[in-house]
Symmetry: C2
DNA sequence: TATGGTTTGATAAACAGTCTCATTATCTCT
DNA sequence: AGAGATAATGAGACTGTTTATCAAACCATA
């Protein structure tokens, strides 16, 4: 089986350069806030809520005085440009992660909340086939497996 | 490919009897509101938001005078007991459907919000294999394909 | 049908996310 | 580097969804 963990597939410098190019292309401005948001997402191994990201940035760059609205605005912009992707959790909102990885799915432990990523070629293939069959123009897809992770089973 | 639509797998009378048994078992009461909520979910072919469900019930049973809080409370209770399941839409809330169907996945139009159900054996199989590989004890799984449906592509 | 615990509707409150707008920052052109 | 044009920002008001509170109504049981 081709299932495997995902890894960062891009250096931060390259990501930043691409981001700057994108901003220029769209006549958007490269601001301190946008840089720090991108950087914080890059160096975080976790899936972050906008609120959590806001906290991290306030701690690391208090002088920036970044507002929560800017976090939301920037995350939306990054998602529109496929730089980050989000996972929905119903009333509990969304969590964001840098999309500069291969597409992947999630396995979520219902006990400890840990999220494990994986990529599976068979599933990726099949999703395309299904969308095609229904005449659906696929934009995105997500799959979650819920259960108890190995660690929690042992405790 | 084995992809196909799903159908109701239970008669309403049986569902109602099961529901009454569950309530008794948990020392909960069988109320008019709970009955109408279950019934409305059963006879609706759609995935409903709590708000939409509330509207339907107000139209059909105005004398019930059902409050929105009761809709939320009952949906949570039904979900806890695996009688309904929900789909998340980020800030746009959740949509609920009766779980008394075979397991199935969802294809969601990001333009009109229409939800199409499907079952695919290849995907079901693969999910089990993946969970096994990671030593994960699978409890549930879900898959969503987001895109533009045929109807919306034509408009 | 009396009793006691449960459920209810109304409404207040919490919450996430969006919008507005005056101020500040960035970019471009010179 | 400076100026002008324009985009981005932070603060906080606002929206829509979901939850909590509580007195009154209801249901199951005896």
């Amino acid at each position: 089986m081709s299932t495997s963990f995902t890894e960062r597939t891009i250096e931060y410098d390259k990501l930043l350069a691409d981001f700057k190019a994108l901003l220029k292309e769209k006549a958007l401005k490269f601001t301190n806030q946008r840089e720090k948001i991108l950087e914080t997402l890059y160096y975080s191994q976790e899936h972050l809520t906008p609120e959590a990201l806001h906290q991290l940035i306030k701690e690391k760059y208090p002088e920036l005085n970044a507002g929560i609205a800017t976090i939301y605005r920037t995350l939306s912009m990054l998602e529109d440009n496929n730089i980050v992707s989000s996972l929905s959790f119903g009333a509990q909102g969304k969590k964001y992660e840098l999309g500069a990885k291969d597409h992947h799915d999630h396995m979520i432990c219902t006990k400890c909340g840990e999220i494990t990523e994986f990529v599976d070629d068979v599933i990726e293939d099949q999703q395309h086939k299904i969308a095609e069959k229904f005449g659906f123009k696929m934009q995105d897809h997500s799959m979650q497996i819920y259960g108890i992770c190995k660690k929690c089973q042992d405790n």
